[in-house]
Amino acid sequence: MGEQIPLVEYLVLGAEPHLRAHECTKCGARYFDRRNACASCFADSFKAFDVPTEGELRAFTIVTFAAPGVPVPFVAGVIDCQGTSVRANVINIEPDPEHVELGMKVRLATYSLGEDDNGVEAVGFGFEPIGTNS
């Protein structure tokens, strides 16, 4: 397998891909982007927190009309990963309201965005229903 790069820095690749948040060492608030100080308690030190890879779909929409260049339809949602809210697409599912359900159990899954000119493969993530065989 060639070199891989995650779609975003907070996606950790490897044998068990997962998301990694910056957790405030004082109050425990978690952030996926870098913060100068904690938005909740203003402390300024953070440690890495590995976000559980399974969760529950707390909100979703099926986007059928998006900005130019964004393929539709797709399912966008909020996944509650055992106390850490994650924004992601729901993948490996039919994008219609008959198949996507609030409260459904989902788990992190990765997919390839393709290779660049240097042969580096970008890898993205989504959440798929638990129980699918993909």
Partner: protein, 400 residues
């Protein structure tokens, strides 16, 4: 305690398509009419706060002055997403409250007719070398890959999240909220769209972001609104008719979103609205049960539902029952968006936060014609801009 503030004059232009008028023309039209409504001139105004979010030009306030009167007063050009109009109004109110002047003018204007989806922008083609960029170190565009940046999609999730928490929501329920607002709009000659739409028409229209179809989304259009505010002591020196028609600003509140666990991934439009409503009721010394009408920020049908709850119009978790009871229709207990709301009246962004004040004032003055809510004495206007900012104003008729 600082003195009371009153709306002395207010106006909104027809919302819709104005191909022959630019933002400055529209702002001037609303301003001139608001001054006339107030019975004053630019010579009386001590501060101007103006907003135009999408125009991209600098200094809408100064450009407006060139058309209606350059008197050298301070201008504050404000920008606060969809709460821009309310922010302009609040800026003028704060200046008068602070005693810097006794009369202020707030203006909001937008040209959006024909604008498409408001989102993060077109996705650029992927580069031929993956290079991390930005605060997330993203190697490619994330809109559509990690959730959605589109407004219909964001607010769809906000409504769905409420449904997940409390139950009772469905595509049809959200569509019925839109049906109500489109029905209300038929009585509003200034609305961009005044067509009654059946539930079937709404549900079978183009799906934008489930469960929001096109008529369940706020309508992009052109429009402007302007308001003249005056101090209580100055108002007492003015004519009887001016005093009779003046509308009291019983509460003027602007909040931002305090930190919440999930706010980094889905904007939290709830907490800041709840905070603003609580502060506003306390300032005004009234409760939600006292409201004769409410204009709230139905940028999408899914948003209206959550704000019933956030504004305290129902028990916590009771928004679905509140709507199903018919309480929010124009003959219900607490009529909501009798103007037609953003879904049909239209949403020229920076104008919206003053136009909803105009709607409430119109009823409190007993001047709303066919859509008058009889005997209206107290009303609330709410806007929210993502980022986020929330404006809540409570208004009372002078005889209240």
């Amino acid at each position: 305690m600082s003195e009371d503030i009153w709306i002395l004059g207010i106006n909104m232009t027809k919302f819709g398509k104005h191909p022959d008028l630019d933002t400055v023309d529209l702002a001037a039209e609303a301003t001139t009419a608001a001054l006339k409504d107030a019975g004053v001139t630019m010579g009386d105004i001590g501060i101007l706060a103006a907003g135009n979010l999408m125009g991209g030009g600098l200094g809408i306030g100064q450009a407006l002055q060139k058309q209606v009167g350059q008197t050298g007063i301070p201008v504050y050009n404000v920008s606060n997403a969809c709460a821009t109009g309310a922010t302009a109004l609040r800026t003028a109110i704060m200046a008068v409250k602070a005693g810097e002047c006794d009369m202020g003018l707030a203006v909001g204007v937008e040209k959006l007719a024909g604008a498409g989806l408001l989102s993060g922008g077109a996705r650029a083609a992927d580069k031929n070398e993956w290079t991390p960029k930005g605060r997330y170190g993203a190697v490619a565009s994330v809109d559509g890959r990690i959730g959605t940046d589109t407004m219909p999609g964001v607010f769809a999730q906000i409504g769905m999240e409420y449904g997940h928490k409390y139950g009772g929501t469905s595509f049809e329920l959200f569509a019925r909220i839109s049906e109500k607002n489109h029905a209300h709009s038929t009585l509003n000659p200034l609305a961009a769209y005044t067509k009654r739409m059946s539930l079937e028409q709404i549900m079978n229209d183009v799906m934008i972001a489930y469960p929001n179809t096109r008529p369940m989304c706020s309508a992009n259009c052109d429009g402007a609104a302007a308001a003249v505010v005056v101090s209580d002591s100055k108002l007492k020196t003015l004519g009887n008719e001016q005093q009779r028609r003046a509308v009291k600003v019983s509460a003027s509140v602007l909040t931002t979103d305090p930190w919440q666990e999930a706010c980094q991934i889905l904007p939290d439009v709830n907490t800041l609205t709840r905070n603003a409503a609580e502060q506003a009721y306390e300032q005004a010394g009234i409760g939600p049960e006292d409201l004769d009408l409410v204009e709230l920020h139905d940028c999408f049908a899914t948003a209206e539902l959550v704000h019933y709850d956030n504004l305290g119009l129902c028990e916590p978790g009771g928004a679905v029952d509140f709507f199903n009871s018919g309480a929010s229709t124009r003959d219900g207990k607490t009529p909501v968006n009798v103007s037609g709301g953003l879904e049909s009246k239209g949403h020229p962004i920076a104008a919206t936060g003053i136009a909803n004040i105009w709607e409430v004032c119109h009823h409190l003055r007993g001047e709303a014609g066919d859509r008058q809510i009889e005997g209206a004495r107290v009303g609330l206007a709410h806007v929210i801009g993502l980022g986020s900012a929330c404006g809540v104003h409570i208004l009372e008729s002078s005889a209240a």
